[in-house]
Each structure stands twice: as C-alpha cells, then as structure tokens.
C-alpha cells in the first residue's frame, strides 16, 4: 500500500478522539472494577502476542488498515473483549482492548497510525457492544444467571460489536482505497458475523463463569478451545500455502522443460478462470478450472526433454510420443482427489471440435466443457506470449485468429466468453513473483519452433 491519504489520517484521528471521549468517564468512576479491567486487558494483550504461526500474524496486524475481523474471521481473539463488554460498564470496557492493540508487534507501516487505528476501532466496538448489552438488561442476566435471556442480550451486543467494527472498516477502506462504502460494508458484515457470534458465545460463558463462585480461574478455561481452534486454523493455512507452492513448482518445472516463457501455465490458468467467470460458473468450479489450466501440460514431465526442444521437424514417431502427454498428465494427477473435473480437461485439452484432435478424436460436445475452455486459454496465451522463435502477437490479432478457428478447432461459446471477458477486464497476466529457480536444469535456448505446431491456432503441442 502506498502512502496513507490525508483524509484517512483525519478519519483515524477522529476515531481516536471519539474513543478517548468514550473512555474519559473511567477516570472518575466511583469504584472502578480496576483489577478486572487490568486482568482482562492483560489477557487480551497476551492472546494477541502469543505467536500464532505465521499466517494469522500478518493477517492480524492488518495487511490493509481494515481490520482482521473483516477478513478471515478468526484473526483477532474477540472472546476476551466481548467478555469485557458483558462484565464491565461501557467506560471501563473501552480500556480492555487498548494495551493489546497498542503493543502488537510488527503492525506494518506506518506502525503507530495502524496501532492507534486498531485500538480506537476495537475500543469503539466494545463500547457499543457494552452499551447495547447494558440497555437490554444484560448485566443482571449474566449475574443471575438468567438463561436463555442472557443469550438474547449477548446476541444484541454481538450485533452491535460487529456493526461498529465493519462500519469503521468500510469507512477506512472508502477513504484509503476508494472502495464504495455500501458494498464493502455489507460484505464485511456478513462475513464476520458468524465467527464473531461464536466468539460472543465464548465471551458470554467467560462472563458467566467469572461472576460464578468458581471465579476467573474457570473463565480462563473457556479460552483454551478457542485458542486451539485458531492455532489449527493457522496450521491449515500454512499447509495450504505449502501445497500451492508445490503445485507452482510442478508447473514451473514443466514450463522450463518445454522452453516456454515462464509462467505460461499460470497464465493459462488465469485465462481459464476469466472464461469460467464469464460463463457464470460458481466459485468452486472456477477454482478447479483454474487448476485445470495450470496443470494442463503437466504430462510433459514424462516426455523426453530432447523431443520437446528438438531443432527441426519431427518424425511421425517423435510426434506420436509428444502427443502422449495428455495421457501422461492424466495418469499423474489421477490420484489427486480435489481436481475432479480438471482431470478430464488435462486429458482432452488437445481435442478439436471437428474431431481431428488427440488423444481420442472426440467431436463437439463429447469433449468435456473444461477441456474446451482450457484449449482456448492455452492457444490464446501461446499466441500472445513471446517464444524464443517468434515475437508475441498483440491481443486483438490473437483474438481474431481464435475467432477464425472457432467452430473447427475451438468452441465458439468459449471464444466469445474470452473476448467478452477481455473487453471488460483487459488482459493483465499475473507476473508471478518468482525468484531464481533452476528446477530442471535451465535449458539451452530452444532453437527451432514448437514441435508439431498446428499452425492455425498455434496452441502449442
């Protein structure tokens, strides 16, 4: 993120000011429940500082100024804050989040602006929750304890907490990054309501046990399952990142072996996803289709490098070997459960509508939908990226070529979808931030053309 815009600074300043005003009455509170405030604040600060493995760290400190509760849901540890809102009068509850938010390490840049924003945001949310809770008569319900009425008051408080948090987030997003308030607010609110509600239940249990004869010791136990849950969630993210890195490495190995420009496979994935969105597929299918695009040529790992980079024309025998790569790829990914439909796309991405493709010479709608999408995306990227033996063609020329081949080689619906998607969003191939890599030893630059290139369409092998 670039420098913070001045209006965003003013906004943060206002939030801090209001939070301070909310906290001011705590100074002359007749009998401030001081030890409770200190204990809860220390708990919150402690749970913020416990090193949750990598993933939650940055998410919690806020990649953007917008808070974490907005994003993944279980970024910050809300149960302590909500327990504070249920237990303490509003002006005292405001103090609970402050030490944790102000002392959070590695807050990102600029650190103090972010920290004070975070502190003010949480303080205001807790203040609102505490007020609503008190107004509904929640203090008596918790102290009683009167169930199920206590659940109702807690629900009201959670709603207020969530609304305040996300409204403030939407405001800063609008000022700092120009996102329209309405859309971002409803999105943030709906996404964070469920996790905050679960945290709210834990907070309610904490408050009830805190006031019970068993005291704060029992209340502390409530935090343990919540913490384990966050920890496992972080592990999940780490493992998922490792998995994605593995897949990326796999396709880089293919790209290098093939002498393609780096990132061909990932760009095919991106184009496939654009087509999927245009066709109105749901997110899950679009994601699988992206993997189909990324992994479409993985079978080339099984083709001797010598053939893939052969200088000069191929003998029919050599061509036959290269044309085995869809089947190799299918054989390789057979065991990967989540790929589902993508496996058929890998097997059939060289089929052509008129039946002259391989490996099976399927015709028209016999070819799986995913395979028809990947074929178009593959050809498009092959034409628009620079190869060692020719320069890249401009996007309009490539689209023209695709439209010319639609019907015989490509599915016209997919070509149309790609044209529409490019009209709307343009073509910004993701530059994968990859560093040095020598997966398979870097090849000598290939001298001659792609083997067995179908001149029309130029979709690679």
């Amino acid at each position: 993120m670039g420098p913070v815009r001045p209006w965003a600074r003013v906004y943060v300043g206002c939030a801090v000011l209001i939070a301070l005003l909310c906290a001011a009455p705590a100074l002359d509170l007749a009998a401030p429940p001081l030890w409770a405030v200190v204990l809860l604040a220390a708990l919150h600060a402690g749970s913020e500082r416990i090193p949750l493995p990598r993933v939650l760290g940055p998410a919690r400190a806020g990649e953007r100024l917008a808070g974490p509760g907005a994003g993944e849901g279980s970024g910050t540890f809300f149960p302590v804050l909500l327990a504070g809102a249920f237990l303490l009068p509003p002006e005292a509850a405001v103090l609970v989040p402050l030490p944790g938010a102000l002392l959070v390490p590695g807050a990102g840049r600029p650190p103090w602006l972010r920290r004070s924003w975070r502190a003010a945001q949480l303080a205001l949310a807790v203040w609102a929750a505490s007020h609503v809770h008190a107004a509904l008569g929640g203090r008596d319900a918790v102290a009683g304890p009167h169930f199920p009425y206590a659940l109702l008051t807690a629900g009201g408080a959670v709603l207020a907490f969530c609304l305040t948090l996300t409204a403030l987030d939407a405001g800063i997003l609008a000022l700092a990054e120009g996102v329209p308030v309405r859309a971002s607010w409803s999105g943030l609110f709906l996404r964070s309501l469920a996790p905050v509600a679960v945290h709210g239940l834990a907070g309610l249990m904490m408050a009830v046990l805190w006031l019970s004869p068993y005291g704060p010791v029992a209340a502390l136990l409530v935090l343990l399952p919540m913490y384990v849950s966050c920890w496992v969630f972080a592990q999940y993210h780490r493992e998922r990142a490792a998995h994605q890195a593995t897949i990326r490495a796999l396709v880089q190995a293919v790209d290098i072996k093939d002498g393609y420009t780096r990132g061909h496979s990932e760009r095919v994935g991106q184009a496939s996803m654009m087509i999927a969105r245009e066709l109105g597929m749901d997110d899950e299918r679009a994601e699988v289709l992206r993997f189909a695009g990324i992994l479409h040529d993985v079978g080339k790992l099984g083709v001797p490098t010598r053939l893939l980079r052969k200088d000069g024309p191929l003998t029919p025998e050599e061509r036959r070997i290269i044309e085995l790569h869809p089947e190799y790829g299918h054989e390789m990914v057979r065991g990967i459960g989540f790929l589902g439909e993508a496996r058929s796309a890998i097997l059939h991405h060289h089929e052509r509508l008129d039946g002259s493709g391989y490996p099976y010479g399927l015709v028209g709608t016999q070819i799986p939908e995913f395979a028809r999408v990947v074929a178009v995306a593959d050809a498009f990227d092959a034409m628009t990226s620079t190869r060692s033996y020719r320069r890249a063609r401009p996007v309009p020329a490539a689209l023209e070529e695709l439209q010319r081949c639609a019907g015989a080689q490509f599915d016209p619906a997919m070509v149309r979808a790609l044209v529409h998607a490019l009209d709307r969003h343009g073509w910004h191939p993701a530059v994968t931030a990859d560093e040095e890599h020598g997966t398979v030893p870097a090849p000598a630059p290939p001298v001659a053309g792609e083997p067995a290139v179908h001149r029309r369409g130029g979709g690679g092998v």
């Binding site: 304890p145 659940l151 704060p216 136990l221 496992v232 493992e239 459960g337």
Partner: protein
C-alpha cells in the same frame, strides 16, 4: 495368543465387565435425574455422530469425549447437588456412544470396539476419582476456585491415562514400539486433547451454574475446533496426493519402474516406525522416500531400469543433489530436501532418514533384479555385505525384521 494381545484382551474384558455391571445396577435401581442424563446422553450421541470418518486422528469424536468427561465430573446442576454415581455415568456414556456409533458401524468405518473400550475406561476412571469424593460431601468447605482447579487436575490426569491406554492398545494391535507411540499420543494431547479437556471442565462447571443451557452454548466452540481440524486434515491429504503425483512423474517418464516410489515409501515408513521415529519424522521420511528419484528427471538419458544403487558413487551423488534442488523448489519442508540430497552419502555422514531411504531403495532395486523367492533374500545378503560403508547395519537388520514380520508381502504389493 501372543504376549502382545494380552493388553487388548484385558482392556476389552475390563470394559465389558464394567459396562455389564453398571447396566445391571442401573436397570435395577433406575436413573437418578433422568433429564440431566438424557441431555448429556444426547450431547455424547451428537458428538459421536459428528465423528471423523478417517481413523487416523487421535481423538475421533472430541465433542463426545468432552460431553462424557463433563458428565463424569458433574457435581451440581443449576446450583442443586446432583448425585448420579459412577454406574450411571458409565451406563449413559455406553448407551449414547453405542447409539452414535450405529451409522458409522453400518457404513463399516472405524473400529467401534476399540473406540468404545477406550471411552468407557477413561470415563470410568474420571468418575471413580470424582464421584465418591463429591458424594461424601468432602468438597463442601472448598472455595469455588479450588474446586475448579480440582476438576482441571482430574481431567489432566484422565487425559494422561487415556494417552497411555491408547498407546498400549495401539502397541498390542500393531506391535510397533510402545515409546514412540506414547510420545505421539502425548503430543496430540497438547492439541485437540487440551481443547477436549478444557471443554469438559467448562461444561461441568457451567452446567453447575446455569443448568443445561450451557451444553449447546459451549458445544459450538469445540465444534468449530473440530471443523478446523477437519479442514486441516483434508488439506494434508490433498498435499500428500500431490506429492505422490509428483513422484509418479519419474515413473511416467520411464526413468523408474512403476510403483517403485510408492513401494520405497511404504517400506521406509515401516522401517522408520520399527526404529521408533515420531509422527512428524515419519512424514518427512515418507515424502523424501516418495521423491528420492526425482533428480532423475534432470537427466538427459534414463538410467537403465532406474537402478541408481548400481551406479558409481559420484554419479549417485550428482543425481541426489539434482533431486534436492527440485525438492527445494516444491515448498516441501526443508528437511525433506536434505534427506533427498544426502541419500547417496556414506551412512556415517547421513541423517537417519536418509540412511533408511538409501537402504530401502537399494533393497527394492536389488530384490527386483532377482527373480523368484530368492530375490529378496539375496538382496538382503548383498546389503549386509555392504554394511561397512554404504548401509547402516542396524537399519539393514530392522529392514530384515520388517520384511520377516510382514512376510515380504509389503515389498511386492506396496
């Protein structure tokens, strides 16, 4: 009956006697506070129904366990004392667990008998520790916080006993060494085990304060934890599948015979387990064994039959280094790359996982060369002769034990 099975039979007999005795007593005497018993029974049943389908997890039904433990440690309900006794706890948990196991058993998943044995013995232990003290009113003078600490201490003790019991059962079933099994169980206790423990304690205390409303309210966080675990397990499975696919690349490219990587991985895991490696170490070993030949992808021409063990040492080491470079790219744990890199070094310079991979790989290749039943035997003989430098004698012997135990089938079918 071998000595190892005795533990299993003993545990099952004890659980059966306990269950039958409690059931008879309760049928004769009737239930005390049936509404409370029903509520806890339903909680346990729901927990069992939401059980993990794959059997690889340490605590397959966290909510069921937490519910059962909290019932064992329940002293009051909404401020009123509740004396239900050990027999009633055992009976309720038995009935609820059986009810929850029906769908799983119908689909033929998981071993219900072992699961039930563990659950009953653990719950009975907790109840025997707590209920008599409570019944005799010895806790009356205690402060609330002390009482809460007592509950936690009892739960910790119970969890430790459960870990020992689980390790003993696993040991008698699989004959893997007891020490590493216990270590793995205790490590798992820190994760989901601690969440179960805390939830059990909180539920029994919260029910004492607010009554049965506490059950649904506090089930949610634990269900959330279980959900997180399930997603974690799912992504781990996918990851393993991807690594296996990557390993298959060398086979499809014709560098190594079909199924070689998978067989080496399975055999390496068995040897590693025999030698007492822990869970995470076994995972590293397995991934490294799957990818040990990946360096061959970088070769211009395939090694004949993919048999690297018969190549000159320099060439072996070069391929190993290439493989390490590939593995480093894949984002797999760096330890895996180290194992792959060092697989061709003399054993004294290797980490133990690399020694295992090297030995097993050599065995797999040599056993394939020889035909007929003599192949594996002569392969072992050749490994023993090369013990001076290339292969560690202890690992060769461990491999021989694994092969003998599994009747050499592992090597053939993978």
């Amino acid at each position: 009956m071998s000595a190892g099975r005795i533990t299993l039979v003993l545990a099952r007999t004890a659980a059966a006697i306990l269950a039958a005795g409690s059931l008879v007593l309760i049928l004769w005497r009737g239930l005390d506070h049936p509404a409370v018993a029903l509520a806890f029974g339903m909680l346990v049943t729901v927990g069992e129904l939401a059980r993990w389908s794959d059997g690889g997890e340490r605590e397959p039904a966290p909510l069921g366990a937490a519910g059962a433990l909290s019932y064992a440690l329940l002293g009051h309900n909404a401020g009123q004392p509740d004396h239900h006794g050990v027999q009633q706890v055992v009976t309720v948990v038995l009935a609820a667990t059986l009810a929850g196991c029906v769908p799983h058993a119908a689909r033929g998943r998981g071993s219900t008998a072992d699961h039930l044995t563990r659950r009953l013995l653990t719950v009975a232990f907790a109840a025997v520790c707590f209920q008599p003290i409570h019944e005799h009113g010895r806790l009356h003078g205690w402060g609330g916080s002390t009482y809460a600490l007592l509950v936690v201490a009892l739960l910790v003790l119970t969890t430790l006993c459960d870990a020992v019991l689980a390790a003993a059962l696993a040991h008698s079933r699989t004959r893997w060494p007891f020490g590493p099994l216990l270590r793995d169980e205790l490590r798992a206790t820190l994760g989901i085990g601690s969440a179960v423990c805390a939830t059990g304690a909180v539920m029994s205390l919260a029910v004492a304060v607010v009554g049965l409303w506490a059950l649904p309210v506090f089930s949610l966080p634990l269900l959330l934890t279980q959900l997180s675990y399930r997603r974690y397990a799912a992504v781990r499975t996918t990851y393993r599948q991807t690594i296996t696919s990557l390993a298959r690349a060398t086979e499809i490219a014709g560098y190594t015979p079909a199924g070689h990587a998978r067989r080496v991985a399975a055999l390496s895991r068995a040897v590693g387990r025999e030698l007492g490696l822990s869970g995470p170490e076994l995972t590293v070993l397995e991934y490294a064994a799957l990818m040990h030949d990946i360096g061959q992808l970088s070769l211009v021409d395939p090694v004949p039959a993919g048999a690297t063990a018969s190549l000159p040492a320099e060439e072996q080491r070069r391929i190993a280094l290439l493989g390490g470079a590939v593995v480093r790219q894949t984002g797999v744990h760096a330890e895996v790359a180290v194992v792959v890199e060092r697989q061709a070094d003399p054993y004294r310079e290797q980490p133990v996982s690399a020694r295992i991979v090297r030995t097993v790989n050599a065995y797999e290749e040599m056993a394939r060369e020889g035909t007929g039943p003599g192949g594996p035997l002569s392969a072992l003989e050749r490994l023993r002769l090369a013990c001076a430098r290339d292969y560690q004698p202890e690992i060769v012997e461990s491999l021989a034990r694994v092969l003998q135990r599994d009747g050499l089938t592992l090597a053939v079918t993978g």
